[in-house]
């Protein structure tokens, strides 16, 4: 399935003294199988944008098209659509409420009206996806788990609905490096193994460098750049001007270039930079 935003605009508190424009004429398209990253500063409208994509917020003007059909059209069953477009909010662990992990994960499928057997299968599947052992965790209270585990339970709660499109708002915020790494590899597996189309909001450029196939850069409610990570991260000056970082590897690459080394400007992954630097070093030694 594809999602398309057409001239999307959203204002909060329309018609009062507190009126703010959160999204200003945003248009883009996400095709099946992509892993799109949205980056932007706090308050750039990222979270507002993702809530439009499954109909939780209605645009002030503009449209969201799901497979070419208007999401806010009159005859669209938005509840059913929401289950195809999974949305994981920021700090999703704060929405856990059930007595046991398994029951909490079953909340989504239950709302879909599935049979008890199917729900059970889904819960096993979802816990497997997020690397939580069913035997060990299914009957434990979600409130006695660690932060990283709670986050994985919450993500499993969305995955149990088997969405074909998954939107994640800052999935690694507030986690330690190990927990972060774990979440990222889960997302990687979902994208490549389960062929889920992904949209991830983050301001961790290193997360983006690792996962995204395409990036959308937002600033003050507008899209300021779109392209592959290679294209985006090569524009170090543009990124700094809107208060964003580039991945560590891209910054190092830029610093080396400024020092006069002959190095391509568009390296942004640690492994490719390492390979390039090693090849330079070997060349220098062999001379």
């Amino acid at each position: 399935m594809s999602i398309e935003a057409v001239h999307l605009t959203h204002c909060y508190s329309e018609g009062s003294a507190f009126r703010t424009v959160a999204l200003d004429d945003v248009s883009f398209r996400i095709d099946e199988g992509e892993f799109v990253g949205i980056i932007g500063h706090t308050g750039s409208g990222k979270s507002t944008l993702v809530q439009h994509l499954n109909g939780l917020l209605k645009p002030s003007s503009g449209q969201v098209l799901i497979d070419g059909e208007d999401l806010n059209g009159e005859h669209v069953n938005r509840r059913a659509l929401r289950q195809r477009i999974g949305l994981v909010f920021q700090y999703p662990e704060y929405q856990l409420f059930e007595e046991t992990v398994a029951k909490d994960i079953a909340f989504g499928p239950k709302n879909q009206g599935l049979s008890a057997d199917e729900i059970n299968v889904r819960v096993h599947y979802a816990m497997d996806c997020v690397h939580l052992d069913y035997e060990k965790y299914a009957d434990r209270s979600p409130f006695e788990l660690s932060g990283g585990q709670m986050r994985r339970v919450a993500i499993a709660g969305v995955l149990a609905m088997r969405p074909s499109f998954l939107i994640l708002d800052e999935p690694t915020a507030g986690l330690d490096p190990k927990g972060r790494d774990r979440i990222l590899s889960i997302l990687e597996d979902l994208h490549s193994g389960e062929h889920v189309t992904m949209l991830m909001v983050s301001h961790s450029m290193d997360d983006m460098a690792r996962l995204a196939t395409r990036l959308i850069v937002m600033s003050e409610g507008k899209i300021v750049a779109q392209g592959t990570p290679r294209e985006i991260f090569a524009q170090v000056d543009m990124m700094t001007s809107i208060g964003l970082d580039v991945p560590d590897a891209a910054r190092l690459c830029r610093l080396l270039k400024d020092k006069g080394y002959d190095i391509p400007a568009d390296l942004y992954r640690p492994d490719e930079l390492k390979a390039y630097l090693l090849s330079l070093w070997k060349e220098a030694r062999s001379c």
């Binding site: 003294a17 499954n54 999974g86 909010f89 929405q95 409420f97 909340f107 879909q112 969305v158």
Partner: protein
């Protein structure tokens, strides 16, 4: 979704009225209420209306915002009007029909009582519209502080009020977020009968309580780590000082009160 609920309804603009001392504003509001009760004729109400309108202009608050405060009370206003209209006995009968009897006196009294109620609400909402919640609880604390002599916890009460007011928007935002998150998982808050709707609230209320307690714990910890220990010996960031404008405001209010009283005795 919940963003259209305005609690405390402070209208954040700058004006002479906004800058008045909250203590003075509190006292003046009480005087205004007294004036409303003293007004006995329509001329009195015209004076009151001119006063309220003038203050709202001076405060840069649209008069529409004031009237909006009446909206939640419209049922009570209508009920007051109807009850007085039908159950007041009088001389001049206008309409008589079955057991219903509408008299001139009844009509006038109905109009009077509902206007009085409206003025009370509009007058007090002038206070909340022009005074930030923090300033308001500061003012209340200062006004109640003489009661500290009889061990009345004025500071603690004001602090509790400040914190409660401060957290209303936060909790509303949180509710909105959790609601959306559960809706993304297919929860349905809008349809179904009473029982199923009450059940649908569980996925909303449990996380909300968990987060409220977590926030309370965090806040207590943060206050303690900054050595907060109650009101004793505490100095203020914003020291309330009376200015000339406060004096003028008091004079204007006294004038209003005098006008109302005189008008009653003269006419």
């Amino acid at each position: 979704m919940l963003s259209n609920i305005t609690m405390g309804q402070y209208y954040p603009v700058d004006s002479k009225v906004h800058r008045l001392d909250p203590r003075i504003k509190l006292i003046l509001t009480i005087v205004f209420i007294v004036a409303v009760f003293l007004a006995k004729t329509f001329v009195g109400y015209v004076i009151l209306f001119l006063f309220v309108y003038g203050v709202s202009r001076l405060a840069n608050v649209p008069f529409k915002m004031l009237l909006r405060g009446l909206k939640p009370l419209r049922l009570i206003l209508i009920l007051t009007f109807l009850l007085n209209l039908f159950f007041t006995t009088g001389e001049t009968v206008w309409v008589e029909f079955w057991i219903i009897k509408i008299t001139k006196e009844g009509f006038l009294q109905a109009l009077f009582y509902s206007l009085r109620l409206a003025f009370l609400v509009v007058g007090t909402s002038l206070l909340t519209l022009t005074t930030s919640p923090v300033a308001l609880s500061d003012g209340i604390e200062m006004l109640l502080s003489p009661l500290k002599k009889i061990h009345f916890p004025a500071h603690e009460l004001a602090m509790m009020m400040t914190i409660a007011l401060r957290f209303i928007p936060t909790l509303l935002e949180e509710t909105d977020k959790i609601m959306k998150a559960q809706m993304a998982r297919g929860a349905d808050f809008e349809s179904g009968n009473l029982v199923s709707r009450a059940k649908a609230m569980v996925p909303l209320l449990v996380p909300l309580f968990v987060s409220a307690f977590r926030r309370a714990g965090d806040l207590a910890m943060a206050m303690e780590s900054r050595c907060y220990h109650g009101g004793e010996g505490r100095t203020r960031l914003r020291v309330l000082k009376l200015t000339r404008n406060d004096g003028i405001a008091c004079l204007v209010m006294l004038l209003l009160l005098a006008l109302i009283i005189l008008e009653k005795t003269l006419l």
